[in-house]
């Protein structure tokens, strides 16, 4: 059954999109990630204009992160104070990101930059994640004791001024790295159409040394606001949010996530991370391949009446 998307201005198969939403939802439920970094490239492979894919994906992530954050609030695994600090940086970053997005789009380089950012970030994070989890699997086989979490006072990040106490995270930390991290993730979220959890979570664990039990909830908490803000700003400046597309993906996504979460309980943490690392690397290689291989058509055309809210 085909459905006409009013903003993308194209006819698409509703079951294909619903299936894509459900499949990505399954993976995100299983791995505890937002899934934007998988969904946006998939939409672009499906010929949705990149500008529409990115902005609409931000809208979808609002739904999945809200659903996820509610569960974490119930368990009490959200550090609201830390989340708000990250959020302040995130809103600044998102504003910058939407502005960069508009200027790249008029310069005709948006698609390239989106692909490049994906290749760089997915490549780096996928590699780190795969290596780290393979090491963890090897260690657990040798029955070694897991390494102790570092106390969090030895790195340069923890020597910066303007320190604030975060009770829930048991941290006494400068606001500078928190704001900067929030801002960088905000910029990426706006340009790449992701929540940024796949960057935020490792950065919180390895750089800020936030305890793992509050990392996911706090990250989801701030993602709700950053992606909501991105959705509104993209709507107001670029008119590229397609609510019909977003709704199909949301419904598919939240259903898929439930089954994914159930499947995720059957696997060990390090096995999950290894699988996710390989998946991230797979998407990275696919996008990188498209940048390097000679395109089937060297020319591309943009009319002032083409879809995608010109």
């Amino acid at each position: 059954m085909s459905i006409y998307l009013p903003i993308a201005e194209m006819s698409v198969n509703i079951f294909v999109l619903f299936g894509m939403g459900a499949a990505v939802g399954f993976l995100s439920g299983m791995f505890g990630v937002g899934g934007g970094f998988l969904m946006t490239p998939l939409l672009i492979f499906y010929n949705i204009p990149p500008a529409v894919a990115v902005a609409t994906e931000a809208n979808q992530i609002v739904a999945s992160s809200f659903s996820g954050a509610l569960a974490h609030f119930r368990k009490g695994t959200v550090d609201v104070k830390l989340g708000v600090m990250l959020l302040i940086g995130g809103l600044i970053g998102s504003t910058l990101g939407v502005y960069i997005f508009s200027s790249l789009r008029s310069a005709g380089q948006l698609d390239l930059i989106i692909s490049l950012l994906y290749v760089v970030f997915l490549g780096a994070i996928g590699t780190l994640m795969t290596i780290e989890s393979l090491n963890a699997i090897r260690k657990s086989k040798n029955n070694d004791a897991p390494p102790k979490r570092k106390t969090g006072h030895d790195s340069w990040i923890h020597k910066l001024p303007f320190k604030v106490r975060f009770r829930k995270s048991k941290l006494y930390l400068s606001v500078i790295p928190i704001l900067v991290l929030g801002m960088l993730v905000g910029i990426l979220a706006a340009i790449m159409g992701v929540g940024g959890g796949f960057i935020m979570v490792p950065a919180m664990i390895y750089l800020l040394r936030v305890p793992t039990n509050v990392v996911i909830g706090t990250s989801l908490f701030q993602i709700i606001f950053v992606t909501s803000y991105t959705t509104i700003i993209q709507s107001a400046t670029n008119q590229t949010v397609d609510v019909v597309l977003a709704l199909i993906l949301m419904v598919g996504g939240v259903i898929g996530a439930q089954f994914g979460a159930a499947a995720g309980h059957k696997l060990k943490g390090e096995q999950l991370r290894a699988l996710l690392g390989l998946l991230v690397l797979g998407v990275c290689i696919r996008l990188g391949y498209d940048l390097v291989v000679t395109p089937t058509d060297l020319f591309n055309i943009i009319g002032s009446m083409d879809g995608g809210g010109h």
Partner: protein, 260 residues
């Protein structure tokens, strides 16, 4: 009223265009719809344009000396076409050309290939055919397709043909009787929204004798229209509504699946 108006245009064009000294021939034309609605199930459409050749020269009519060509044109738009080059190992949009007043949709409906109907089709006061696009736009300083021939304008035509937005297919118009004709226009799902001009040209011996103009509209209707208008006119409100929809969906999912 509409017919009166087109008659008026017709007579004005007869007087000023001075296409042919003897005006013994004319064209009548009708379109199956005035409006093509674009709703959630829109996946392209087909419309029928029919009409008749009216002439005092019945013998010539029965010998099949007349040809009808119908041109369908969407609103003109500015187009940027970019070419990728390999820079540092990756393919990057590099050179670009821009063109003004390129029709957003262009279809030629005819019984025979244009070059068989007239061999001077690009030289007359009207130019017909995808390869002659832009020839009849005399506006000073405009960069039209024909002025910059080369790989960019070729690629523009090729891409628009691949997207089904430009077409020129012989056989899309059928002569039902010596005087009656019927043409079928396929409208793709990616058709630009807006008014589309339909012009019929009557040919004899390669010369344009007369023309007739009409139009139809491609319009978003119902929910699609509401969404599109809201997004473009009230972007901020639209964004806030999109967020509320997402929050509700997230909450509903959480509520439903928690109970299970």
């Amino acid at each position: 009223m509409k017919n009166l108006f087109s008659l008026l245009i017709l007579s004005v064009s007869i007087i000023f265009a001075n296409l042919s000294p003897a005006k013994a021939e004319s064209l009548q034309m009708g379109i199956s719809v005035d409006q093509v609605p674009v709703d959630s199930s829109f996946n392209g459409a087909e419309i029928v344009i029919f009409g008749s050749i009216e002439t005092t020269e019945q013998a010539a009519l029965f010998r099949g000396e007349y040809d009808v060509v119908i041109r369908v044109e969407g609103a003109p738009e500015d187009v940027i076409i970019r070419k990728k080059d390999r820079i540092g190992g990756i393919w990057i949009n590099n050179e670009a050309e821009s063109y003004e007043s390129v029709p957003s949709f262009y279809a030629i409906l005819s019984a025979r290939p244009l070059n068989l109907i007239s061999n001077s089709i690009e030289l007359g006061p009207v130019s017909l055919g995808i390869n002659n696009l832009g020839k009849n736009i005399p506006v000073e300083g405009q960069k039209t397709l024909i002025m910059n021939p080369g790989e960019f304008s070729d690629a523009l035509r090729r891409l628009r043909i691949e997207q089904d937005l430009f077409s020129e297919i012989p056989g899309t118009l059928k002569q039902l009787s010596p005087s009656l004709f019927r043409a079928t226009l396929s409208i793709p799902a990616n058709v630009p929204i807006g008014e589309h001009k339909v012009t019929a040209f009557l040919f004899r011996n390669g010369e344009i004798l007369n023309t007739n103009e009409s139009s139809f509209k491609i319009e978003k209707v119902g929910f699609e229209r509401w969404i599109y208008d809201l997004a473009h006119e009230q972007g901020l409100l639209y964004g806030i509504m999109a967020v509320l929809m997402a929050i509700f969906t997230g909450w509903a999912a959480n509520a439903i699946f928690r109970k299970n």
